[in-house]
Symmetry: C2
Subunit: 211 residues, 2 copies
DNA sequence: TCATGTGAAGCAGTTCACAGCG
DNA sequence: CGCTGTGAACTGCTTCACATGA
């Protein structure tokens, strides 16, 4: 039955994202129904785990048949809050910020970049993907004008905390942080830190002992 | 005791990377010794977990005292294979590939980008951070010339599998994949897929239910 | 004495096996 | 009958509590 699911593990959450992507893929192929087993085989997952993960939030399937692709996809989109588009402001328009501003995953299916901000005067008024870079001082306006709910931090590590605080003050509710540093968080403004180096180090570990 | 540690969980591995970064930070501040408890408090970790994680690979500390920062850092660097620099080739010099080519984390402390490859003729011979972009057909040469051991995939999803196969054929031992797709892997060529959207979706989930 | 290293306990996340329902 | 949904068993990760040794 329905579960408000007070706490959901990050592992489950990542799998839900992956299920959603897989369903999109199936739907593009015109497939209407899928069983947990078929889904598992196609995308190297565990059938039981798919069912357990989904059951946490309701009964989405039809016994004896499987899941209706369109319906399940809708439910997952709802669950992950992707029904309404969430607007993003990117703080720090270096190479990484520029790349993310135009990144398909940040401009489709639930997310859209609506504002760019940088502290470097040389970058102000530059245009990236239809957006004009505005000065950090105007951050609050950029957030308001774009009706942004999330911020993306792509500034140097030393500037990350100040930028986070500014985003929090501007009314953003969540921040995706690419600076490899631990941020002191404000109540009500969730942070998710992504360290691009960790993937390399994980691979390096295995190479180190494979030799 | 020494442990060959046949299997190490990704969670542990990520924490080891984080410990290493924290130790670097401490060393920069001139701190010589640190206890697991102090480390935990400073960086929001668990002291017991730090000790358990480290104990898996040997006895690195001094009972009654703590850990010598320099020594522990060296051991972690060794464990993660960062003592010798691992050379990277980036396949796909779009905005993301360009950003990573110059990303500090990909060009310091164990990693270095030594080659760039793209299939778009318009990008060939372009220079990015001292490196010349070369055609995909020359991938094997680029890997050999640069003595590269890892590849970084920043091509469109549709091209990811072919690029992975080419990297594997060129003799690379590990691939960091930024395309949101499941790759069919070649024996001996490990893959780690990083999906930049997942962080957004995780945050979106919490925003969806906070409202 | 004090903080590490570690068996034992506790908890979470995964897999199993099958009841329940279309 | 077939596949979902789910208690129960299991596996693995985290935390506890303390023996060990500098």
């Amino acid at each position: 039955m329905m579960g408000p699911a007070e706490e959901v593990s990050p592992l489950t959450l990542n799998r839900l994202s992956f299920y959603l992507r897989s369903l999109r893929h199936l739907q593009e192929q015109g497939i209407k129904r899928v069983s947990s087993q078929e889904l598992a085989q196609r995308y190297h997952l565990s059938a039981t785990q798919i069912r357990k993960d989904l059951a946490q939030f309701g009964e989405f399937g039809i016994r004896g048949v499987g899941y209706e692709v369109r319906h399940l996809r809708e439910r997952l989109r709802h669950l992950l809050g992707l029904e309404r588009t969430q607007n993003l402001v990117i703080v720090g328009v270096g190479r990484l910020g520029t790349a993310l501003a135009a990144y398909p995953g940040f401009n489709s299916d639930g997310f859209r970049v609506v504002g760019l901000v940088d502290s470097d005067p040389a970058k102000i008024d530059r245009r990236i993907g239809g957006l004009r870079v505005r000065p950090t001082a105007e951050l609050a306006d950029v957030v308001r004008d774009g009706n942004a709910i999330m911020g993306v931090l792509t500034v140097p590590t030393a500037a990350a905390q100040a930028s986070y605080d500014a985003l929090a003050a501007a009314g953003v509710r969540a921040v995706l942080n690419f600076a490899p540093t631990q941020l002191r968080t404000t109540r009500g403004v969730r942070v998710k830190t992504v360290d691009l180096r960790i993937g390399l180090e994980e691979l390096g570990f295995f190479l180190a002992r494979a030799t």
